[in-house]
């Protein structure tokens, strides 16, 4: 209902405002020149083309993982395996980018498919364990993140490593597999097109198809879905496979668009950020990019602030934590909401 969505907008806005205020208080406590530091934080992302680009390109992987998490959360599955799926997707794309010989475009496309398939396999495991043996997908997906991280590092170290380089990096990706960058000096790349298609696809899938309907009804009330004849076991499974594919695709896009070699030594954390974004976007694919851009903005702002002032970029974690806390806290502003309901009821009564 309109009242409810308006209320959610107000609630999220207020949560962000309060979080920024608390962030500012922290800044005042730790900084010699808090006003200046906070100015860098808020305006930093807009001060040059490079930074503007940095902040949009940072939003790309976040949108992918945000979409992936939104899909599983819509089905009521607390699968937080996007981290490992993203990572293994990037490794699979690296493999395809190094080992395959294909013409340009086709090569990139195939590498992206490698990423999506690897991610969906990673999503299948906790999904299968849940639908077959009712194993908590929260636990299994969390633990599997480490498995996929180590598996990926094994593949890179033992099969794709460039031994002529001192650091632990892979062989260079073949140029045919690159997603072209089109706006130097930024690193904005053709993966953005894939991203836009993916956002549209996820929204269409979730709200315009029978499968998406099954996912949402299963997430809203599992008993109701079962009673209605929705095959909930397969819904639980395919929602996690699809989510894994989106996260894996995200890893592949990031790898082929930004990097020329695989050089991550640890998991980059986009999967867990995806959880934050899905919560902010209330699992709505069309709102996911907004949440991702907002989070990327905070991150880049914090980096700029760390560069030019005496406040470290970890400050942004404080702000993030407060936002999540307030948005997820059901009781936050529930009193205000209740008064709204009460007023409406009274107006109804006096009218009739």
């Amino acid at each position: 209902m309109k009242r409810d969505s308006l209320f959610e907008v107000v609630r999220t806005g207020l949560a962000i405002g309060l979080a920024l205020l608390i962030g500012f208080i922290v800044t005042v406590l730790v900084s010699k020149s808090p006003l200046e530091a906070f100015k860098y934080f808020l305006t930093g992302p807009f001060t040059s083309t490079r930074r503007l680009g940095a902040f949009i390109e940072a939003a790309v992987p976040l949108t992918f993982t945000g979409l992936a998490v939104s899909l599983v959360f819509s089905a009521g599955q607390f699968n937080i395996g996007a981290e490992g799926q993203f990572f293994i997707g990037a490794v699979a794309a690296t493999f395809a980018g190094i080992r395959l010989d294909l013409p340009p475009f086709i090569h990139a496309l195939v590498a992206l498919i490698f990423g999506a398939v690897a991610g969906s396999v990673a999503g299948f495991v906790p999904g299968y364990l849940k639908s077959r043996w009712n194993a908590s997908e929260l636990v299994s997906s969390l633990m599997l993140n480490y498995v996929f991280l180590k598996l990926g590092m094994y593949v890179i170290t033992y099969h794709l490593r460039d031994i002529n380089v001192g650091a632990l990096v892979s062989l260079p990706l073949k140029e045919t597999s690159w997603l072209p960058q089109f706006l130097p000096p930024t690193r904005l790349h053709a993966g953005i097109v894939v991203l836009v298609l993916c956002v549209i696809f996820c929204h269409w899938f979730l709200f315009r198809t029978g499968w998406g309907y099954e996912i949402r009804m299963t997430g809203l009330n599992l008993n109701f879905a079962r009673y209605s004849g929705i095959p909930v076991t397969s819904v639980i499974l395919y929602s996690q496979v699809l989510s894994g594919a989106v996260a894996g695709l995200g890893g592949a896009v990031e790898m082929l668009g930004i990097y020329r070699r695989f050089q991550w030594l640890a998991s980059p954390g986009y999967g867990f950020d995806g959880v934050i974004i899905a919560i902010l976007a209330r699992n709505n694919p069309l709102l996911v990019p907004v949440g991702a851009i907002f989070l990327a903005y905070l991150r880049v702002g914090a980096d700029v602030m760390a560069m030019y002032s005496d406040v470290t970029s970890e400050m942004v974690s404080v702000i993030q934590a407060v936002i999540i806390l307030l948005v997820t806290a059901q009781a936050f502003l529930s009193g205000y909401r209740h008064r709204l309901v009460l007023r409406e009821v009274k107006r109804h009564e006096s009218a009739s």
């Binding site: 198809t209 099954e214 009804m217 809203l220 009673y227 004849g229 209740h338 009821v345």
Partner: protein, 539 residues
């Protein structure tokens, strides 16, 4: 009787309670109780009785209104406050620790100690003397999980008394009791009254209200309709106050005259089911329902009806026996498959099974047909068709809503049930399994649902009606059976020839028919045709 001028021991003035979903449970309710009386609080399900008592006990916070106890204005924001002011409550569902003994439960929260340790002897002593004082006899050493319901209830009452409650609230205390236990409870309550305790008794059984109470307050739709001396008002008047008009007790049942000629559509044979702890909850239940008739299942709740419905709808597998729908074997099929065979199901608990409350009305209306035309266009959904179907159903089933995209959680209980009914009745079902279809909804919606059931049978549907409401199940059914402890203990080929008293004896397990006779009467006449067809299909 109590003097008029005396300050009431409890006065609740102008209580208004609105739930977060906008449901007005209490609207400016005034409720007064005199010291030392047994005061019955009556009303239909959803009239606001329980909410009012939850406000009194600090479980819900009123949005408006004041509470006065012994003339003092008090603020009750938790059960702890309520207990401090001498209010005790015995809930519909007992709140006891099953693994602890009776004595341990009675003293829980106010345990006697010896040094650092719990003093078990003292606890037993306290419990024993309390139970003797009030004539509520219990074995203080028995673990709660081993004692019958009636004893659990006594323990709850003793618990409240130990905490110094002199205002005792009992929320539908007889719903789970046998007649003997009810009798015992009433004696105990009268004894408590003699000792000067005040008792508030929530019920919708008028016979009990007349027998026990001094005064009665009737609620309807969240408001108080009136308070009367019980001796000065008839049961008919009370029921009229509860319902708001003369009660239409005669429901017109479908005219399934030539039963033999009709085809058997739903057939269950020797269904067995064990609960998780190994109890046999369905003991070889067989039944059949024919096209164009309503078979009623009467019985006290918890005698296997839930399990029977779950098995028939595929929500939980049977441990033995078979189900046939229109002659085809449906044993062990999924809920979706069974629906595709033409079965509709009105579930007992609409909020758990019937709807996804956070989803919109239209999303709830299409949950059983999103895979078929016109809702489905291959892969994608036809949102226009969904909107159109929803508009049509909202109108046809008179669902009070502002828009099809409104969330179901904002509707009243009766309208939520209409959403369920609209969905289940509009797919031309061959079989309708209606489990407590009118529980907790207003009279208007109840009558509408009864009418739809009858209409469906006229179109040839077979209806299995499970209900704890005797008037409903007797008035609507063509044929009637009684379930007791997982068995069908009685079958009446002509529901109109049974009296309520007779049914009661079977429902309480005091009487039963010969199982072979039941089998012969129910299955025999039709065994000749469709059932044998089913058997060959199976063999």
């Amino acid at each position: 009787m109590v003097a008029r001028e005396e300050t009431p021991i409890l006065a609740m003035i102008g209580i208004t309670k609105v739930y977060p979903n906008g449901l007005v449970a209490n609207s400016k309710v005034d409720f007064q109780v005199q010291r030392g009386e047994i005061h019955a609080l009556v009303g239909e399900n959803g009239a606001g009785k329980t909410t009012l008592m939850k406000v009194l006990f600090g479980l819900e916070k009123a949005d408006e209104g004041d509470i006065f106890i012994r003339g003092q204005k008090v603020k009750i924001s938790s059960p702890h406050d309520a207990i401090r002011h001498g209010v005790g409550m015995v809930h519909q569902h007992f709140m006891l620790a099953p693994s602890l003994t009776v004595a341990e439960n009675i003293v829980l929260g106010a345990e006697p100690r010896r040094g650092l340790w719990f003093d078990r002897k003292k606890a037993e002593e306290i419990s024993r003397s309390l139970s003797e004082e009030y004539g509520l006899h219990v074995d203080v050493r028995a673990p709660i999980k081993d004692v019958p319901v009636g004893v659990k209830q006594k323990v709850e009452i003793l618990k409240a008394l130990l905490r110094g409650s002199d205002i005792l609230v009992l929320d539908e205390p007889t719903a789970v009791l046998t007649p003997q236990e009810t009798g015992e409870l009433f004696l105990a309550l009268k004894a408590l009254k003699e000792k000067g305790h005040t008792i508030i008794f929530i019920s919708h059984k008028l016979r009990e209200v007349k027998e026990l109470s001094d005064r009665v307050t009737v609620m309807r739709g969240g408001r108080v309709v009136g308070t009367r001396k019980t001796a000065e008002i008839s049961s008919e008047e009370i029921s009229r106050m509860m319902v708001g008009r003369d009660v239409e007790l005669r429901i017109s049942r479908p005219t399934a005259a030539s039963g033999k000629a009709k085809k058997v559509v739903l057939l269950a044979k020797n269904l067995q089911k064990y609960s998780r702890d190994g109890k046999e909850v369905l003991k070889k239940v067989s039944l059949q329902v024919r096209s164009g008739e309503i078979l009623g299942i009467a019985g006290v709740e918890g005698n296997g009806q839930v399990e029977l419905v779950e098995v028939l709808c595929g929500l939980s597998p049977a441990d033995g026996g078979q189900v046939f729908i229109a002659g085809k074997d449906a044993t062990g099929k999924s809920p979706g498959d069974i629906r595709n065979m033409g079965v509709s199901h009105i579930p007992q608990d609409r909020m758990i099974y019937g709807v996804a409350a956070e989803a919109s009305i239209e999303e709830n209306l299409v949950s059983t047909r999103y895979r078929t035309s016109p809702v489905s266009r291959g892969i994608s959904l036809d949102l226009k068709a969904i909107r159109q179907i929803s508009r049509h159903l909202i109108e046809r089933f008179t669902i009070k809503a502002t828009s099809p995209s409104q969330s179901v959680s904002t509707l009243s209980g009766g309208n939520i049930q209409k959403v369920v009914v609209a969905r289940e009745f509009s797919t031309n079902p061959q079989v309708i399994i209606a489990d407590q279809p009118t529980r907790g909804i207003d009279v208007g919606a109840t009558e509408a649902i009864h009418r739809y059931l009858v209409e469906a049978t006229e179109k040839g549907a077979a209806v299995l009606l499970v209900s704890a409401d005797l008037a409903e199940v007797m008035g609507l059914s063509n044929r009637l059976c009684v379930m007791y402890e997982g068995e069908i203990v009685a079958f009446f080929p002509e529901a109109s020839e049974v009296t309520e008293e007779e049914l009661g004896l079977y429902m309480l397990g005091l009487k039963r028919q010969d199982p072979r006779e039941i089998e012969a009467a129910m299955m025999g006449e039709a065994e000749s045709r469709p059932a044998s067809e089913a058997e060959t299909g199976e063999g």
